[in-house]
Symmetry: C2
Subunit: 344 residues, 2 copies
């Protein structure tokens, strides 16, 4: 399987390492991974016979710029070169996400699919903004678009909805889809600290970003929920359709009051089908002690689906971090190779 | 898609009804279901152009023997006729399970796969006793064997393990896999009644069978866990390898004692990989209030997987009853039609 990696940050590095480490498992799946391109914003490298991963990992582990890796590869290669050559089976698109334009990911995905190349992406922007169009292009070109990593990484979410609810009508999607806010709320309760202090701790631990807006204001949850809802409930909603409130207005006193009656605040994303309309909200909600979301702790995430013929189910967990994100991309790659059609 | 239904009990009837009711959804999946055969222990009917489902449902709803249905079908048809004609794409095998011999399901599945016909089965016996062999036959004949209904019906279990943990090594499987025992234990706590009384209530509600041995002694849990473990953890275990204890020795006083310290007994099936060996047990275990299994209530089921690269996740829920069982068979059918390869 000839692979191009486009976008080479921490997850990209973890993915290359994981592909190298698990080559025996991949061989059991009849996959012989051959990474021909690694491209990032500054340039890219190319070896038509496949980059020697052992050497490449060693090189990049020393924190060297990939564009200097000329041991077995051509340097200064661009995405345009890749599209001209069309010599890969799959593009793994991992450039930084842009929720407003989707670029550069959107162009990468569009061009790859249009040229008959499968795509797996970890990039929420393009999927949020243009999934229907990308789906159409993939279908026309008889290739697959794997997006398992865009709605909660290792947490089985979008693919579970597609596979496990096949044939059933989904009537609601409810989730704790953002680990950072879940961690902050738990810290506030566990350690009796105010929001600001819990946020600082999360930032110190690398769980929250220095600008935490996307997480704490609910935009990250909203993005994931929109992808899930538009695909699984067949809607065409955008961020403006969501009743949105973050966790930054919750005080320690609110948390304590709930704790005293065995309840907890969680940042809940919710899409409910009612009278033919889907209503979407993202806001802190009060969760009862006998609800399966009550014990979703720390960085964990969860999603609950309700359906007409298969009932409800809740999925809790999925590891966080770059290795898990990489593993969730590899999971899509294996399932595409197994012949599973995300797009039909 | 030409279909044969072999075994026509409550789930079979629900499946025919569901296929009829959801034909628009199935059309969206490019499935035009054409049921050519319905065969049960007393005989069978056949229409090479497809049985008229509307008429057939009306007929069987009046509780008439299918073998009298000669409105548009040949009667007195047997499984041997089906195998001679080989004129279906898929056999849905739903004969009563036999955990000792696997028959008659085992023969049905073997012959269907050997003749290049996909199989979906709800029948635990053959899968428990001969999965490896059946897998091999399916692979040789380039057909699929769907078993999603054998390990908890609508609860996403075996397929989730295959799809959602693709590429990861599963290090443990822990589950509440039997709804009947879960219901009984909850009734004892909720209503302060002894085991005998709770069992009687479950029997009265049709949740427990008149001979409850398979459920309450843990054999049903053990069967499901064995299928999950042998396939997902690649072992070759049998019932003798399991440390097995049912719930029938639990008294109300035990339940009350646990409730007083916010704990609960649950019948837990557990397969743990440790030092290269998989240890399997099925027994009542004490579950803490902050465990995600604590709130798995009533007839609900749950399964938790741990893995090396994708972390842990827990799935809770999945409807009970014949419609949900039928829907979980239809789910396998749709996924096989989408090209998903359970067997590769």
């Amino acid at each position: 399987m000839d692979i191009a990696i486009v976008g080479y940050g921490f997850v990209g590095q973890a993915l290359v390492q994981l592909i190298y480490d698990t080559k025996d498992r991949l061989r059991n799946e009849d996959i012989d991974p051959n990474i021909k391109y690694v491209i990032n914003s500054k340039g890219g490298i190319y070896n038509p016979n496949g980059i020697n991963l052992k050497n490449f990992i060693k090189f990049t582990n020393m924190d060297k710029d990939i564009n200097l890796y000329n041991e077995d590869s051509t340097i200064n290669v661009t995405f345009t070169d890749l599209i001209r050559e069309k010599d890969v089976d799959i593009v793994i698109e991992m450039t930084p996400t842009n929720l407003n334009t989707g670029e550069p990911g959107l162009s990468h995905i569009t061009k790859s699919l249009s040229n008959g190349i499968h795509v797996i992406t970890a990039n929420k922007g393009p999927i949020l903004l243009a999934y229907d169009e990308l789906y159409k292009i993939a279908k026309e070109n008889n290739v697959q678009l794997g997006i398992g990593c865009t709605t909660g990484g290792a947490l089985p979410s979008i693919n579970s909805g597609i596979v496990e609810l096949a044939g059933s009508k989904i009537t609601s999607i409810v989730g704790i889809l953002n680990g950072t806010t879940n961690f902050i709320l738990e810290e506030m309760e566990k350690n009796g600290i105010e929001y600001r202090e819990a946020l600082k701790k999360a930032q110190k631990l690398g769980i929250a970003e220095s600008d935490p807006t996307l997480d704490v204001k609910g935009f990250d949850t909203a993005s994931k929920l929109l992808i899930l809802t538009n695909i699984l409930m067949k809607t065409n909603k955008s961020i403006e359709d969501i009743q949105l409130r973050g966790i930054d207005s919750i005080n320690l006193s609110d948390i304590k009051e709930m704790a005293s009656i065995n309840k907890r605040y969680k940042l809940i994303g919710k899409s409910i089908l009612s009278k033919g309309q889907v209503q979407i909200s993202v806001k802190p909600e009060i969760i009862d002690a006998n609800d399966s979301f009550y014990n979703v702790s720390g960085k964990d995430k969860a999603v609950q689906y309700s359906s007409d013929t298969l009932g409800d189910f809740t999925i809790i967990g999925g590891a966080s971090g770059v290795v898990a994100a990489a593993a969730s991309i590899l999971r899509d790659l294996i399932n595409i190779n197994r012949g599973y059609q995300y797009i039909k």
